[in-house]
């Protein structure tokens, strides 16, 4: 046993960490990242890649739910802790290793629950854990994902929910239930293959926060008569990735479904076995919480291809925590982009963190992560941490490192070749380019600390969203990473652009 234990300890000595920071906790994040870099721990790129989830600050509102769901996607063994200051950081990271090494698969579920409660407790939310509701977010960029290990059985990961009554329930039996109260925040994702027929006539009001994404291959017949339009705020239908609604690409699902407009030339007869009649009376008209259903649209090469509704964010590597990009994807081209902050992340942080040079380096580091340049990103992070040190010798070395990173990035021809000419925020002016490259070079100038270039102001979300229109996913990520998106004191409603 001891041998196995020490083996596990050895295996988990370098866990992969996902750091999520609430607004206003940048300096804390820098400290955490400095410690992680010192220990050569890896940064996770997705929940599946995560061993340890560190939450900086107290998540509130929708962001809290988003993080709960994100946590539910992390495979066991796993560990999470909240963190409001850098005290005992090193010890808590050591404890994380210990916790990972001690957990076994057998008590994974229990541990999951415990961890979730522990984390919520640390965030001061234990009391209303049962009341927390997922207000319709699609979490962690995993549009259409199933939620972690929940495919059907493991209900343990529903952090913060009171799942006791529903464990193992056959959802089919809920016919006629008033689901409003109890099921708030439920993730329906796991109910793959369910027949939803029983839900006919339900009052679906309370289901804000349902993720319907997973209902691939569902028999939706029973929904006849449901009014799907208004009440399902927050439904994410994005899970039909690559799906069309029942295989009928030519469908126009945005209109009234009565009589299905099957698009030019579709032969309904050929779709043997498909009973579309149940969809009569569906009112799927209009966007569901701003998300239109899957439909075809002209792509930029003039082909009508399937589009897929996705939501990116609120937690992604190198992405401003809390920002959500809702868009339709055609292949990997973004159309109809809308940006918004989730509640809980929409407020401007009270104090401006750190010196301008360190902020620029932080910005650069996050951009370099997205641009796929991990070595330079690490250098930028290290320089940033050194600059905030109290030791003048360390600061001097960090200054040299900062200049080195800034020069390396600024003069990289490969990077210029890769990112030039995209993400123009203003009208194209050959004299003064305003593309990703120009913005990044400006961040470099500030990061070097040698010239007094003014820090570029935050960019309003509608401006940013219009710059994303028609770009590829990769481009969009780079464009977002190249600016500072503007937070508002009040929640910014999704801003539609394009058609």
């Amino acid at each position: 046993m001891d041998l196995r234990r020490s083996l596990r300890r050895w295996a988990y000595a370098r866990p992969r960490v996902l750091v999520t920071d609430m607004p206003g906790h940048d300096v804390l994040r820098w400290q955490v990242e400095a410690e992680l870099d010192r220990r050569s721990w890896a940064y996770a790129t997705s929940p599946a890649d995560t061993d340890v989830l560190i939450v900086l600050g107290e998540p509130t509102g929708e962001l809290s739910d988003a993080i709960d769901l994100l946590w539910s996607q992390v495979p066991t063994p796993r560990h999470t802790f909240g963190c409001s200051d850098a005290n005992f950081l090193s010890r808590r990271l050591d404890q994380a290793i210990e916790a990972l090494a001690n957990s076994t698969t057998a008590d994974a579920n229990r541990q999951t629950e415990d961890d979730a409660r522990a984390r919520l407790a640390s965030a001061g939310l234990a009391d209303d854990a049962d009341a927390s509701s997922s207000a319709g977010q699609d979490m962690g960029g995993h549009a259409g994902d199933d939620m972690g290990g929940h495919a059907g059985d493991d209900m343990g990961g529903h952090a913060g929910q009171d799942m006791d009554e529903h464990a193992g329930h056959d959802m089919g039996g809920h016919a006629g239930h008033d689901m409003s109260g109890e099921h708030t925040g439920h993730d329906m994702g796991g109910h793959m293959g369910h027949d939803m027929g029983g839900h006919a006539g339900q009052d679906m009001d309370g289901h804000a926060g349902h993720d319907m994404g997973g209902h691939t291959g569902h028999d939706m017949d029973g929904h006849a008569g449901d009014d799907m339009s208004g009440e399902h705020t927050g439904h994410d239908m994005g899970g039909r990735m690559g799906h069309d609604m029942g295989g009928h690409t030519g469908d126009d699902m945005s209109g009234e479904h009565t009589g299905h407009d099957m698009g030019p030339g579709h032969d309904m007869g050929g779709h043997a076995g498909h009973d579309m009649s149940g969809h009569m009376g569906h009112d799927m008209s209009g966007p569901v919480a701003g998300l239109p259903m899957a439909q075809t649209a002209q792509d930029r090469d003039g082909l009508d291809l399937d589009v897929l509704s996705v939501a990116l964010g609120p937690v992604l590597p190198g992405w401003p925590t809390g920002l959500v990009l809702r868009a339709q994807l055609q292949g990997d081209v973004i159309i109809d982009a809308q940006l918004s902050w989730t509640s809980g992340a929409d407020n401007e942080a009270g104090d401006i963190p750190g010196p301008a040079q360190a902020r620029a380096l932080d910005h650069l580091a996050r951009f370099l992560v997205v641009a796929g340049w991990p070595t330079q990103a690490r250098q930028a992070r290290q320089a940033r941490s050194g600059l905030t040190s109290s030791d003048p010798a360390v600061r001097a070395r960090a200054q040299e490192a900062a200049v080195r990173v800034a020069r390396g990035v600024r003069h990289s021809r490969t990077l210029a070749w890769s990112v030039a000419g995209m993400g123009h925020l203003t009208d194209r002016d050959p004299e003064r380019p305003d593309d990703v490259l120009a913005r990044i070079r400006r961040w470099c100038d500030i990061a070097a600390g040698t010239s007094d270039v003014a820090e570029p102001g935050p960019v309003a979300l509608p401006t940013l969203a219009s710059a994303l229109e028609g770009s590829e996913l990769a481009t969009a990520r780079l464009v977002v990473a190249s600016v500072e998106p503007k937070r508002a004191l009040t929640r910014v409603e999704g801003v539609r652009t394009g058609a």
Binding site: P15, P75, G141, G144, D145, G318, T414, A474, R477, L478
Partner: protein
């Protein structure tokens, strides 16, 4: 199967099929560990201490829960996951070790290339299986990138075949008796190493697993699935380095030291060059790289093949 190589003994014919296959697989895995250790050392800045990290990560992934997603295509997902390391190990079969290959066919070079093509299918399946946006986007990126790299890579292999007058990798090594092929075909060498890195979606070609799509193909993988994919990729890169050393750097030729040591040294040199050079670059965005590959690399490698063909006809390699 009929005896394929009468003149050159193979590892399988000397040691028996199973032991030879096990040895070759072990060498492949060791090369994979070498590659990923070197990569880790550069990325995390740990230096030599990163040597154990691949083993540690492997151990950790073995202990980890496998991720289940919603409505996955589980069959194809699992097939893809199993195929990646298998194909990577199969590509080791035609890499000369100590002057002999596991089995010798009259079309070794095409075999190596075919394994790369199978890797396409496997990685695409890994992207397809989980039924998730980022994952599938990664799969698409891999295909687009693969299409652009397939031809230049193929031409660089053909160039080697033309010079050696054979598609058998041991013949190619023998043909470099006087002069390493890298001298007369530097373009083919660079394209081969770069193209193989692109097929292994590594370093500057890692767009299919990029951080901008939350890890892409790997975004929904945990536990064993992730281990298989990452290990397969590392083994493939290691096999590529060993193959590049054999095809362009004279294989086990060299003074004083025994042949296998030379081959190992050259392989390590290729790995070091690949990691050092590759990690100095940011991710090369696929939409830019693809045009470069089609418009610049294809003509360039064709030109390289032409030069080598003229040299071969004039008896330069005889």
């Amino acid at each position: 199967m009929p005896e394929l190589a009468a003149d050159v003994g193979t590892l399988a014919s000397t040691w028996g099929v199973l032991p030879a296959a096990l040895v070759v697989a072990a060498v492949g895995v060791l090369l994979g560990v070498l590659v990923s250790a070197a990569d880790r050392a550069v990325v995390t800045g740990q230096g030599v201490r990163a040597g154990v990290e691949p083993l540690r990560s492997g151990m950790q992934l073995l202990l980890e829960q496998r991720r289940r997603t919603l409505a996955p295509d589980r069959l194809l997902w699992r097939v893809g996951g199993a195929a990646v390391p298998v194909v990577a190990l199969l590509s080791m079969a035609v890499v000369p070790l100590a002057g002999r290959t596991l089995w010798s066919t009259s079309a070794d070079l095409v075999w190596f290339n075919a394994m790369e093509a199978l890797l396409w299918a496997a990685v695409w399946l890994m992207g397809w299986g989980p039924n998730a946006v980022h994952s599938l986007t990664g799969g698409y990126r891999f295909l687009a990138q693969g299409l652009a790299y397939e031809l230049p890579l193929m031409f660089s292999l053909i160039t080697v075949g033309v010079a050696a007058g054979s598609l058998r990798s041991t013949d190619v090594v023998a043909a470099q008796d006087g002069l390493w092929f890298v001298v007369t075909m530097p373009v083919a060498f660079v394209v081969f190493v770069g193209g193989a890195a692109a097929f292994a979606f590594w370093g500057p070609f890692a767009a299919p697993t990029g951080a901008d799509i939350a890890g892409g193909v790997t975004s929904e993988l945990s536990g064993l699935d992730r281990l298989l994919l990452l290990a397969g990729r590392a083994v493939f890169l290691g096999a590529t380095a060993a193959m590049a050393a054999a095809l362009f750097l004279g294989g086990d030729a060299g003074p004083w030291l025994p042949g296998p040591v030379w081959h190992l040294l050259k392989t390590v040199a290729v790995v070091a060059g690949l990691v050092w050079g590759g990690r100095r670059l940011p991710l090369l965005r696929p939409d830019r790289v693809v045009e470069l590959a089609w418009v610049v690399l294809v003509p360039l490698t064709l030109l390289q093949a032409l030069v080598v063909a003229v040299l071969a006809v004039s008896g330069f390699y005889a």
